[in-house]
Amino acid sequence: MTVKTLDELRKIREEHLDRVRLREDGEAAGDKIEVLVGMSTCGIAAGARETVNRFVDLLAKERLDSVKVVPVGCIGYCHSEPTVQVNVPGQKPVIYGNVKENKVQEIVEKHIKGGKPVEALILHVDFKRP
C-alpha cells in the first residue's frame, strides 16, 4: 500500500495510535485521570488481572485518551479485592472494592465519563499516606 494523500496518512496514524498512546500517557503526568488497580496476590486471585484488562479494553474502545490504567501493589483491603482507586486530578481519590470484571463498565460510564462516583462500590476508608 502506498500513501497518496494526507488523509491516508492520518488513517495509518489512527490505526496505530493505541500503540504509542500508553507511552504518551505515561509521559503526560498531571492532568490525566488515573485508574490504579491493586495487583496483590489476593487481588489477582480475586480477578484483578481481568479487571485491568477490561479497563484497558473499554477505555481504548471509548477512545478515552485522558485516562491511564496502572497496576499497583497491595492497598491492604484483602476483604474487598479486587480494589480499584480512581484519581481525578484535583479531587479526592475514590477507592472501590469488589471490582470484578463485570463492574468495570459501570465505573467507566458513571465515574470516568459522567464524573459521578459509583456510590455502591465505594470503600469508605480514610488513611493518610506519608
Binding site: 509521559e27 490504567v69 497496576p71
Partner: protein, 548 residues
C-alpha cells in the same frame, strides 16, 4: 485478544546494547510468555534515552517507572513483581546521588528536569524499526503538508523565520543555506545529510539515527522539496553499523508506503535517498571533503568559494546539513517558526543536544534550550563531578573547541558566547575535567588526534599540527625551554590563521585556550623557567609580556 495494557520499553542504543540490553529483552519476552502475559504486555525496543551512564534503561509505561542498570537476570523481578503484582522493583530505581533518594519517575530526575526534547522527541519513546509508530506520533504529516499545501518559498521562509542554525558546529543559518541552494539554476540538485560524526565524545547524531531515523528522512525530503532536489544522500561513517542498519530498515519502510520515491503524496515531487559510507576520517565532516569522499575521491577539502550550494556533488548545487539540524525541521513545520523561535537566545534559537562525558556523574545525552548555563548542564543535569573532586574545566566543541573554566560557567550558552570564550559550539561534545587532569596533557591529547586526522592537503595543517604536537610532547617530557613555549604560541596562531579548512583552523584551539587559562601548568614543565633569555621569573600574571 486482550488489548496491550503495559509497554516495557528497553533501550537498544549502542551504549545499552553493549551492556546486554538485547539479553534483557530476550529474558523479558521469554518470562512474559511463560507466565502467560505475552498478549497484554509488550516489550518495545527503543532508541537512546540519553542516560547512558545508568544503562541499560528499562521504562514501564503507562506506569511511568524508570529502571536503571537492568541486567538480564533482573528480568524475572520486573515481570513477577512489577508487571504481575504492580510492585516497584525498588533496587532498580535510580538513586539520586546527592540526596540518596530513590526516584521512580523520569521527569523527577534532575537529569531530565531541565531538559527540553525537540530533536530527541521520539528517542526512547518509539520503536525505531517501525514506521507506524513514527506515523502514530505525527510523523510524515509535515512532509504531507509541505508537498500538498506549501510552496517552496513558504517552506524556506518558515525555516528562516525559526532562526534554526546548523547544529554540526558552524552555526550557519539553515534557512539561508536552503535559499541559496534553491536560487541556483540547475536541473539537478542534491541534499546531503552529514552523519560523519567524528568529535571524540560526541554521539548525538548516532543516537538520533538509531532512535528516530524517520525524523531525518522526512526532513531531508522536506529540504529536497524546498531546494528543488530529487535526490538525497546520507553520508554516514561505517563505524555506526546499528545506525546504518536502522536507516536501511527505515528507508525500506518509507519506500513501501510511498513516502519516499516517485510522486510523493500524489504530487509531482519525487525524492529518494542513498546511503554513502565514510571510512571514518574526521576531515570528511567538512562539507567539501565530504562531497569529495561521496564522489569516491580522497576525503580532502576544496578551496571555498565555490561553495557546495553553487558547485557541490558532481558539480551540482548541493545543500549539506547535519543530522541534528534535520531532526529539528519537522517540529518547525508542524508547530510553527514562532514556537521554535520562542526558545533560546536572541541569535541562537531552539535547543541543542550535548554529549556529556569525562569526569561527570551522569554521562549521557542531554537536550537543553539554548541560553542555559554550563553550570546548569554540568552540576544540575550532569550531577556534578564524581568522587567529591573539584571542577577544573570543560572542553566544548571537541578537538576544535577550547576549555572553559569556572569563571565561564555562568555564561548562557549560544554560538556567539562560546566563540567569545575561545571555544565553540561544535557538534556539542562536552568533556568535563576535574582537578586531577593536567591541561597540557589534555591539549596534547587533542593535538595528537587532529595531527592524525589532518588530511595533508595544506602545509599548515599537515606540518603545523605535527610540530605543535612535537613541542607539546617535549614539554610534557620536561625537556622544553621558554623558547619552546614561545614557538608553540606562535605556531598555534599561524596554523589557526593559515590552514585551508575548519579542521586545522580550529585544531590549535585547545592549545591556545589552555595556554590562556592554565599557563602555570605549562610553566611547571619548563626547566629554565627562572632564567629564560634573562627576562626574570615567569608567573601566570606576567604571561602577556612573553608573547613573541
Amino acid at each position: 485478544m486482550a488489548k496491550v495494557r503495559t509497554n516495557i520499553m528497553v533501550c537498544t542504543g549502542t551504549g545499552c546494547l553493549a551492556n546486554e540490553s538485547e539479553k534483557v529483552i530476550r529474558n523479558l519476552e521469554v518470562i512474559l510468555k511463560a507466565r502467560g502475559y505475552a498478549e497484554e504486555v509488550q516489550v518495545i525496543k527503543t532508541g537512546c534515552f540519553g542516560f547512558c551512564e545508568q544503562g541499560p534503561i528499562v521504562k514501564i509505561e503507562p506506569d511511568n517507572v524508570f529502571y536503571v542498570r537492568v541486567s538480564p537476570k533482573d528480568a524475572k523481578d520486573i515481570i513477577d513483581e512489577h508487571i504481575i503484582k504492580g510492585r516497584r522493583v525498588e533496587r532498580l530505581l535510580y538513586v539520586e546521588p546527592k540526596q540518596k533518594e530513590k526516584i521512580n519517575r523520569q521527569e523527577d530526575m534532575p537529569f531530565y528536569k531541565k531538559q527540553l526534547r525537540v530533536a530527541l522527541r521520539n528517542c526512547g519513546l518509539i520503536n525505531p524499526e517501525d514506521i507506524n509508530e513514527y506515523i502514530a506520533r505525527g510523523g510524515y504529516e509535515a512532509l504531507g503538508r509541505v508537498t500538498t499545501e506549501m510552496t517552496r518559498d513558504q517552506v524556506i521562509e518558515e525555516v528562516k523565520k525559526s532562526g534554526l542554525r546548523g547544529r554540526g558546529g558552524g552555526g550557519f543559518p539553515t534557512g539561508l543555506k536552503w535559499e541559496i541552494t534553491k536560487k541556483q539554476e540547475s536541473d539537478v540538485k542534491f541534499i546531503i545529510c552529514n552523519a560523519d560524526e567524528g568529535d571524540p565524545g560526541a554521539f548525538m547524531d548516532r543516537s538520533i539515527l538509531e532512535g528516530d531515523p524517520h525524523s531525518v528522512l522526512e526532513a531531508m525530503a522536506i529540504g529536497g522539496y524546498a531546494i528543488g532536489a530529487d535526490k538525497g544522500i546520507i553520508y554516514i561513517r561505517a563505524e555506526y553499523p546499528l545506525a546504518i542498519s536502522r536507516l536501511n530498515t527505515a528507508l525500506k519502510q518509507a519506500r513501501e508506503l510511498g513516502l519516499l520515491g516517485k510522486n510523493i503524496f500524489g504530487t509531482n515531487f519525487s525524492f529518494d535517498i542513498d546511503l554513502k559510507y565514510g571510512a571514518g576520517a574526521f576531515v570528511c565532516g567538512e562539507e567539501t571533503a565530504l562531497i569529495n569522499s561521496c564522489e569516491g575521491k580522497r576525503g580532502e577539502p576544496n578551496y571555498k568559494p565555490p561553495y557546495p550550494a553553487e558547485e557541490g556533488y558532481w558539480g551540482h548545487p548541493t545543500c549539506v546539513n547535519n543530522v541534528e539540524t534535520f531532526a529539528n525541521i519537522t517540529p518547525i513545520i508542524m508547530r510553527g517558526a514562532e514556537w521554535f523561535a520562542s526558545m533560546g537566545t536572541e541569535k541562537s534559537k531552539g535547543t541543542k543536544v550535548f554529549a556529556l562525558a569525562g569526569k561527570i556523574n551522569n554521562v549521557g545525552l542531554v537536550e537543553v534550550p539554548m541560553g542555559i548555563t554550563l553550570r546548569e548542564i554540568i552540576f544540575d543535569i550532569g550531577g556534578g563531578i564524581p568522587n567529591g573532586k573539584k571542577f577544573k574545566a570543560v572542553q566544548t566543541g571537541g578537538p576544535s573547541g577550547g576549555v572553559i573554566t569556572e569563571e565561564g560557567l555562568d555564561t548562557p550558552i549560544d554560538y556567539e558566547s562560546l566563540l567569545e570564550r575561545g571555544s565553540m559550539m561544535g557538534s556539542g561534545g562536552m568533556i568535563v575535567m576535574d582537578e586531577d587532569d593536567n591541561m597540557v596533557n589534555i591539549a596534547k591529547f587533542y593535538l595528537e588526534f587532529t595531527m592524525d586526522e589532518a588530511c595533508g592537503r595544506c602545509v599548515p595543517g599537515r606540518i603545523g599540527t605535527r610540530r605543535i604536537f612535537e613541542i607539546l610532547q617535549k614539554i610534557t617530557d620536561g625537556k622544553a625551554t621558554m623558547a619552546d613555549l614561545d614557538a608553540l604560541k606562535q605556531l598555534a596562531y599561524m596554523v589557526k590563521d593559515s590552514s585551508l579548512c575548519g579542521l586545522c583552523q580550529t585544531a590549535p584551539n585547545p592549545v591556545i585556550s589552555t595556554m590562556k587559562y592554565f599557563w602555570d601548568e605549562y610553566l611547571a614543565f619548563i626547566k629554565d623557567v627562572d632564567h629564560p633569555r634573562g627576562e626574570g621569573k615567569y608567573t601566570a600574571e606576567n604571561k602577556a609580556e612573553i608573547k613573541s
